[in-house]
Symmetry: C2
Subunit: 350 residues, 2 copies
């Protein structure tokens, strides 16, 4: 039996709690929930809450006897510090927090490895789509050269809604909010910063390079108009926010950008609508591997979190060696709004 504590009771945290309490796996038991508003949130779990310890004091979690802490707080701090304390206290950590993994993932992974514990983050990229395992594990036997994907479900829902209805970005945003696909403040989604953090995580896994999300160029999707999309349709395609990373190991040059670009109508990206995510991963030997699925939403993301807990439950003693990341490469990027993704002109970053 593996004992689990949950940090944060928002969309992802509450979905994980619901599943672990209502149809629990035989060998996984949720015992603690930390939330700043623990008292109010307790009620939402109904009768199941009576078997849980709710607390607004992080030390109650760090000093508890749980085996795994699920971090679903979001934001870099205090989440990163809490993960560090948790690993130092000898527990494994599962996180859904792309910002923490993009900024501090390598250091936390090293710490986990030194502690003989695990640091897992399938939920940080792609929701239920198991792209972290595909790249970090399933394709570890190849040299990956390129990753192109739709990594932000909110922006994709907005752009594909504009394409389908001809509405404005604001109207599409309202529709996305009404369906729970956009938060009150979607600026990190539209600007591409959310996808930049995810792309940085995938660059570490695929290429072994350490890239700061903020150094990844591209352009924001916030200013896309229905006219831009109509123009793209006339050219035989549409506009999607793509995240693109390509690594030339011989030249030690990383190309990375996130931007709204033109994609052809029959590409997998044009066919990806709503909050779906999709990615094409190219390797020297495997050719092109594609993966797609629900990229957002508490229920889909809870699958990734619980899969990570299950992996730890299967072998608690397993040690996953931390990757060594290099920072010594040229970063190429582009200001490529509305460009055809195949013909983008690159420039040196910084």
């Amino acid at each position: 039996m593996i004992r689990v504590a949950l940090l944060g009771f928002g969309t992802v945290g509450s979905a994980v709690a619901r599943r672990l309490t209502h149809s629990p796996a035989r060998n996984i038991q949720l015992t603690h929930v930390f939330d700043r508003r623990a008292r109010q949130k307790r009620a939402s779990l109904g009768a199941a809450a009576s078997r849980l310890i709710f607390t607004d004091c992080i030390d109650d979690i760090v000093s508890s006897d749980v085996d795994v802490v699920v971090e679903a707080v979001g934001g870099v701090e205090p989440a990163a510090s809490w993960i560090r304390s948790t690993l130092l206290a000898g527990k494994s950590v599962v996180t859904a927090n792309k910002q923490v993994v993009a900024q501090h993932g390598a250091a936390l992974w090293r710490l986990a490895s030194r502690q003989g514990r695990q640091f897992r983050f399938e939920a940080a990229v792609g929701g239920a789509m198991p792209i972290v395992r595909a790249i970090g594990d399933g394709l570890a036997g190849d040299r990956i050269t390129r990753i192109v994907g739709i990594l932000n479900g909110t922006t994709n829902a907005v752009l594909s809604q504009m394409e389908a209805t001809g509405c404005s970005l604001d109207a599409a945003l309202d529709a996305a909010r009404a369906r729970g696909l956009a938060e009150a403040d979607p600026s990190a989604d539209l600007s591409g910063d959310d996808a930049r953090a995810k792309l940085a995580i995938l660059c570490a896994l695929a290429f072994g390079v350490r890239v700061k999300p903020e150094d990844v160029g591209g352009g924001s999707s916030a200013g896309v108009t229905c006219r831009d999309i109509a123009n793209a349709c006339r050219r035989g395609g549409t506009i999607r926010q793509l995240a693109h990373a390509e690594y030339d190991a011989r030249q030690t040059a990383l190309t990375a950008w996130v931007a709204p670009v033109f994609v052809e109508r029959d590409s997998i990206f044009a066919r990806t609508t709503g909050a779906q995510n999709a990615a094409l991963i190219t390797g020297e030997h495997c050719g092109e591997i594609g993966i797609f699925g629900a990229g957002a939403g508490g229920d889909a993301t809870s699958v990734a979190v619980i899969s990570d807990i299950t992996a730890i439950a299967r072998d608690r003693a397993a040690i996953i060696p931390a990757p060594e990341l290099v920072s010594d490469f040229r970063l190429l990027t582009a200001d490529c709004r509305f460009a055809d993704s195949r013909t983008i002109e690159l420039q040196e970053a910084m």
Copy 2:
């Protein structure tokens, strides 16, 4: 440093050997190759062969000091016995052999687990497409209800060639052979037996049920004519060999078939051409997750094999608990050649 022996030097074995000798990973070393025609095959590796022990005696491998044995012999026996001896000798095993995994996978996995060693088989299904990890690990946090896929690259190459050119099945087979996509005897590919073995493996991973490949119904693709495909095109789609499995846990009823069926033109399956594989995995919480990629060929399959070796190299002490499979369910299947995959009438098997 992890030491590796290779059983079998056919398409997959020689591709693995080439990669491990020509651009070796720092911590993986190929040391032994077993093949019945070891002397002739040795020459094909060039200078790299001088650092390897080639043998036609299986005991040389079983009694060697290697850590991992890669089984790429194919066929149920003697491969299954050799894997058993290897595990008993305290080595981990990576196999690309779908027949062995479909027939004896559960027992070999249990043996590996008891021995504190690993039994991995990513290469047995889907070539480089990491579907074994996606189902067994990445989506382990969900209850998977359905898997539908194109799991045989040869048949898909033949059917999509017939669709593209209007040629006969025999002509398409010749074209596939010329491109190295079909073997001299493609009967197991066309009949669906190859896909049935792969589907049985996925059913064990996804649903925890033990189904014999030969009990999976459906129909053969060997008799598909260009007229059948032309008819399907007129109906707005085409013909693909699909493998379909659906498990109703409450009714303990497994539906499973492999057959050439009608698929709609804009489905992922109609768009899957050549030797590509593709699968849609449905879970109660994750919705539909898709994965596609090169399903055959030595180079693509070598990625899956080397990814499995890499996983073992990362943590040799890791123990993957064997799944418990149940046989106590109703098996529903169908004789569904050319049926629309959405409207197939099922019958009880046996």
